[in-house]
């Protein structure tokens, strides 16, 4: 296993355990009101104890593969602000006070054989180490190391990991056929998971981040498939129905919700992930589509044409207690619950174009996160701070990422056309 080469060597630094509780209490108070200023100088590239013949380190490889992704993660964390450093001045606790930075992240990167070793120490103004980590990884995995370290920095501050190790599944036609691909949260490390050489779309993560369910037309009909995140273990789920689209794992059990059809009547169904125990949840004669579970597995949002136009509804997971959510506009689809279950993001037509709408299920208020072009298929980051979606604003479908208020917009895909992002459910 190539990926397991990435051995995480957590340095259980002796003073750390005690110090960690301090930082949590002292910094959490600050964090509520403002972000924490952190200085992140470029890594030293010196082995700690001079070996006989140190391997030369390619500083550009370290900058592009590690330092760039790390500082971007930190800047996007929402809880850190990177304090600019004056050039050619030794970085010490005196300087920290002068530039008003509460924390300093000292980095050292060196090579041992083919692997890079990254050592990180988070130091406060008093000079105490708050976090110490050492990672070993081959050059192609430096980006993942950066995400791991950034996750630890966030965890040190607020007790929960960041989203930097989360993955986004999507469909891409860059190889000629639509296939399922994965990428890191920042768009890096894009890799193909399916090889059907046939239309394969609508990936959706399992709650443990280990599997995906999607729809492929590999047999000429549309079928549901389950595959693991490395592309192995592919299994077709035979529902005996037509369509088999919009499949999505229950967050709590072994059910999959999907759209099945009998005689041209698409409805929401449940089926076990081994293909057994199929159950019909909606029974109208209209088109039902696009089921999506609430985070606790108790409710399912879906789209129905029962009112004459596609609108968003929510029902209990048994199919009862149906209530309509969307009233704005004449076409709404793609509803997804926020991780806290309090909001729904969905695709909503506004003035002839689709936009991402975020509706608060408690206050019943909703707002549009407007953007150029048509914007569809929203998906929440595991921490609920970000939404990924597809937009054709560039002239082709591409996957984007933004904060839920629409700021910090970033295009994640560029090769071919790319759509239907689905963000992994767990942060790491």
């Amino acid at each position: 296993m190539k990926t397991s080469l990435l051995l995480l060597a957590t340095l259980a630094l002796a003073p750390l355990a005690a110090a960690q509780t301090d930082i949590n209490t002292t910094l959490n108070a600050n964090q509520a009101a403002q972000v924490v200023r952190i200085a992140v100088p470029f890594p030293e590239l010196v082995p700690p104890s001079a070996p006989v013949a140190p391997e030369p380190v390619n500083s550009e490889e370290v900058r592009n593969g590690f330092f760039g992704p790390l500082t971007r993660d930190i800047a996007y964390s929402g809880i850190f602000a990177i304090a600019p450093l004056p050039p050619s001045v030794p970085v010490n606790t005196e300087l920290l006070k002068r530039i008003n930075a509460q924390l300093l992240l000292r980095l050292n990167v060196w090579k041992e054989g083919d692997d890079y070793v990254v050592e990180a120490r988070l130091v406060d103004q008093a000079g105490s180490t708050q976090l110490g980590k050492r990672y070993r990884s081959p050059a192609p995995a430096l980006g993942r190391t950066a995400h791991m370290l950034a996750n630890e920095l966030v965890r040190t501050l607020n007790g929960r990991p960041g989203v930097f190790l989360s993955q986004i599944a999507f469909a891409s036609n860059r190889t000629g056929n639509w296939e399922i691909w994965l990428m890191d949260w920042d768009g890096s490390n894009q890799r193909r998971i399916t090889f059907h050489n046939a239309l394969s779309i609508l990936p959706s993560w399992s709650p443990d981040n280990e599997r995906m369910v999607y729809t492929s037309f590999a047999r000429g009909t549309s079928d549901m498939y389950i595959i693991n995140r490395r592309g192995g273990g592919r299994m077709r789920i035979n529902s005996g129905l037509a369509l088999n689209t919009s499949a999505t794992f229950s967050p709590v059990g072994d059910d999959i919700a999907f759209v099945g059809s009998v005689h041209g009547n698409p409805d929401i169904y449940l089926i076990k992930d081994d293909g057994s125990n199929i159950r019909r949840l909606t029974t109208t004669g209209s088109v039902e589509s696009t089921p999506e579970w609430s985070p606790n597995g108790r409710q399912i949002a879906f789209t129905s044409g029962r009112s004459g136009t596609p609108q968003i509804y929510v029902m209990d997971a048994e199919g009862t207690n149906v209530r309509r959510i969307s009233y704005d506009g004449n076409w709404n689809d793609d509803a997804v619950f926020s991780p806290d279950g309090e909001k729904l993001a969905y695709t909503s037509r506004v003035n002839g174009r689709f936009q991402i709408r975020i509706a608060n299920l408690i206050t019943n208020e909703s707002r549009i996160v407007a953007g150029e072009g048509s914007n569809e298929q929203p998906t929440w980051s595991p921490d609920g701070n970000w939404i990924s979606f597809q937009s054709n604003r560039s002239g082709a479908w591409q996957v984007y990422r933004m904060r839920i208020d629409g700021t910090d917009l970033l295009q994640l895909t560029f090769d071919g056309e790319n759509k239907e992002p689905d963000w992994s459910k767990k942060p790491e």
């Binding site: 037309f217 037509a242 369509l243 059809s261 041209g264 589509s289 689809d333």
Partner: protein, 202 residues
């Protein structure tokens, strides 16, 4: 025997109906008998009526019908892809087109499927199964359109069945907006993309 001659009459009538405009354009008033030696390469180079032209077909002159029918054999392309192009060009199989966000068949769509049913029940068409693909235009959302395409494919299938095509011969699939016929972003493209597309399969 009577049944057979009925079938032959029907097939001849269909050929005549479909080719009538082409014949008139050539100003020849003879039945377009296609001999077995004809191949698809020698098919008439006159443009077939477009699939969207699903209005009433032109009735042949009455003297056509009164002629003593001769057995007509038409050699169809053996390759299934060529065959599908051929039967669409000839108008033997005609796609049904839909209004925006609808899966109901209007008069033109019924007329197109009616012609298709006639051919599917004819001697030439009886040996094939049919795949009905449901398609949508890009103005909706992908997931809902996949479901809508299923509805369209099945509305076309159901109508063919009511016209006497064995339901066991017909399979449906929905492509939603994934496989547009026209990549354009205007009304004319969208109209072409809202369809039930009929495909012969073995």
């Amino acid at each position: 025997m009577k049944k057979l001659s009925n079938i032959l009459l029907t097939s001849l009538a269909v050929v005549l109906i479909v080719l009538a405009p082409a014949c008139r354009s050539k100003k020849k008033n003879i039945p377009p008998v296609v001999t077995p030696s004809d191949t698809s390469a020698s098919a008439p180079d006159v443009a077939p009526p477009p699939a969207t032209n699903t209005g009433t077909t032109v009735a042949p002159p009455t003297d056509f019908v009164d002629e003593t029918p001769k057995p007509v054999e038409e050699t169809l392309p053996a390759d299934i892809e060529q065959l599908n192009r051929y039967v669409q060009q000839k108008g033997y199989l005609r796609d049904a087109f839909y209004n925006y966000d609808e899966a109901t068949l209007d008069d033109a769509a019924q007329s197109a499927l009616s012609a298709s049913a006639t051919w599917l029940k004819s001697k030439d068409g009886a040996g094939y199964n049919l795949l009905v693909e449901g398609h949508c235009d890009e103005r909706g959302t992908e997931q809902y359109n996949l479901a809508l395409g299923d509805r369209r494919a099945n509305s076309a299938k159901d109508y063919l069945v009511t016209l006497g095509v064995d339901s066991g011969r017909i399979r449906t699939v929905s492509y939603g907006e994934e496989r547009p016929f026209d990549e354009g972003h205007e009304d004319s493209a969208w109209a072409k993309n809202r369809r039930a597309h009929l495909v012969l399969v073995r």
